[in-house]
Symmetry: C2
Subunit: 317 residues, 2 copies
């Protein structure tokens, strides 16, 4: 099964085919992408035409170091999305056993499996992956609670951690064998841009960089990413908005009979009696949600765009 075919929620094209309407008219709450993206600044023509520029890359990296308080001992690199990094990480050290506490984002296990690793949920291993906060339940980790204290390779996927910067484990990125992953698309709401970062052990980062080849990030992503990561006021304001909107969504869902289980302020997880029935009910209003193959009572919702709250309220009334 290729990455494009694995379950990532989505499936909105199929939902449109079944329930009618066109994609643009639906409220897609099946993802964890901020519905109010960073406003795209103007992109200079050379960002499209020339090979991506070392100066622009250096500016992006500098903005990222400041934004995430990257410790001096850690190296940092940019890639065309965290997915591109996740796909390469299992090839960085000799294969063995990897502990990935689940349920969680399924690309990590898929990537390790493709490189011949044995995947486990708990127990001793050469490598471990934690998603912090976890997708879909929002579980947070500390460096003390890591499942494998002596792993040779530790991957801390902080794709959703910009909602909780104070809880970031970025300080661990200076430890040997550690990689912290950051995603740009989710919190900044620009998933189509393809931008992600690996931060950590300089030896591992050098190997990872070689594996991606030169010019891994597109020119427009360098420009837009640097502007966004420098805009700390926007990030602060966005965190407040996401917190308010998450609380509003929880209240609305609770009134409709769902039980909030957690999540992050970019997506909320609920327990309902029959998730498929809830998905159907919302879909009749052209709202797309996320169900999970492993739990028929779990329903995940991303945050609605301002324009879509009335529709959600009507669907749940």
């Amino acid at each position: 099964m290729t990455g494009q075919e694995r379950d990532h929620g989505g499936g909105i094209d199929a939902a449109c085919a079944r329930y009618g309407g066109s994609r643009i008219g639906w409220a897609d709450l099946s993802t964890g992408i901020n519905p109010h993206p960073y406003p795209i600044p103007s992109v200079p023509q050379e960002a499209w035409t020339a090979l991506p520029d070392q100066t622009a890359l250096a500016q992006l990296i500098a903005a990222a170091r400041t934004c995430w308080n990257v410790p001096d001992g850690a190296a940092i690199m940019a890639a065309s999305g965290a997915s591109a990094l996740i796909a390469q990480i299992p090839g960085l050290i000799a294969k063995g056993r990897v502990t990935i506490p689940g349920p969680t984002y399924n690309e990590h296990a898929a990537a390790f499996r493709a490189y011949g690793w044995e995947i486990a949920d708990t127990g001793a291993a050469q490598a471990q992956v934690i998603v912090h906060p976890n997708n879909p339940d929002g579980r947070v980790w500390t460096t003390q609670s890591l499942p494998v204290p002596d792993a040779d390779l530790t991957v801390i996927d902080e794709s959703f951690c910009d909602t909780l910067p104070a809880q970031s484990l970025i300080a661990a990125s200076k430890e040997k064998g550690t990689l912290v992953l950051k995603s740009f698309g989710k919190f900044w709401g620009l998933a189509g841009l393809r931008l992600g970062f690996a931060i950590g052990d300089p030896t591992l980062i050098a190997r990872l960089r070689d594996r991606l080849g030169p010019w891994a990030v597109a020119g427009p992503a360098l420009t837009i990413g640097a502007a966004a990561l420098r805009d700390h006021a926007w990030a602060e304001q966005t965190r407040r908005r996401l917190t308010e909107d998450s609380a509003r969504l929880d209240r609305l869902m609770q009134r409709a009979g769902a039980d909030p289980l957690g999540g992050t302020t970019l997506f909320r997880l609920y327990r309902v009696e029959d998730a498929a029935a809830w998905q159907d009910r919302l879909a009749r209003h052209h709202i797309w949600s996320r169900c999970f193959p492993y739990d028929a009572q779990w329903l995940r919702l991303g945050l609605p765009h301002t324009l879509h709250w009335p529709r959600l309220e009507a669907a749940l009334a």
Copy 2:
């Protein structure tokens, strides 16, 4: 040495520091990128905000199949630049010996070396890479002239072949063990976009796709790439223009004492008495050219933008 550090010409930032002026004011002829890019169509907001869309990807792939006459038996995939594919290809089969007739584009050898392959210029091998037409000398290949007729893996890098579509070896992409690479950035002049394709043996393409992970191509690249690959009239007109401009550049350089050695219509290779002296002479006029570490008499020039011909004429007068 990482990809960013290998010699790819470029170095225009260093040239600005030495000869003065700012990057935007220089005529950068050190690359083989079309100076008159495909006009960027408007990019819908969702291309930036949503995860890249299966429908948009399917449209890009359909446009690519038609544009390059991809045979039915061959699979095709898109990536964020041909470089991303070149970096992964050596991991597709067990390592051994690879024949890469040189001098040529140096990322192929670097990628195979990183995966522990032995690199040779000629002779029997498990794998072979040809760049067709070759960079920098423009040498063209046929399926009869391949250096290793019985290789398990054959990579045909057609990054510059859109200048010579009638000579494309795309028909070979349906052969077992064969991959043909296509670059979008050079002929269409949008190198910052990061878009490239691998076409060939479905088994190899499936492995390559798994290695890149999901959402390998950015949303804007899907939209812009599909529009450009469908615009066959623009491609025809561009080929005529590049042919005329190459002939004009050859005449100008010959009058100044350089001897044309070939190339493609996206870059021209010249023999001069002292390439470093020529590079210096042009740089004084803020024109950047390409020298080669392995031949002190070779000078490569990309085609000037319309606005830069008078400057080149003045520099060579």
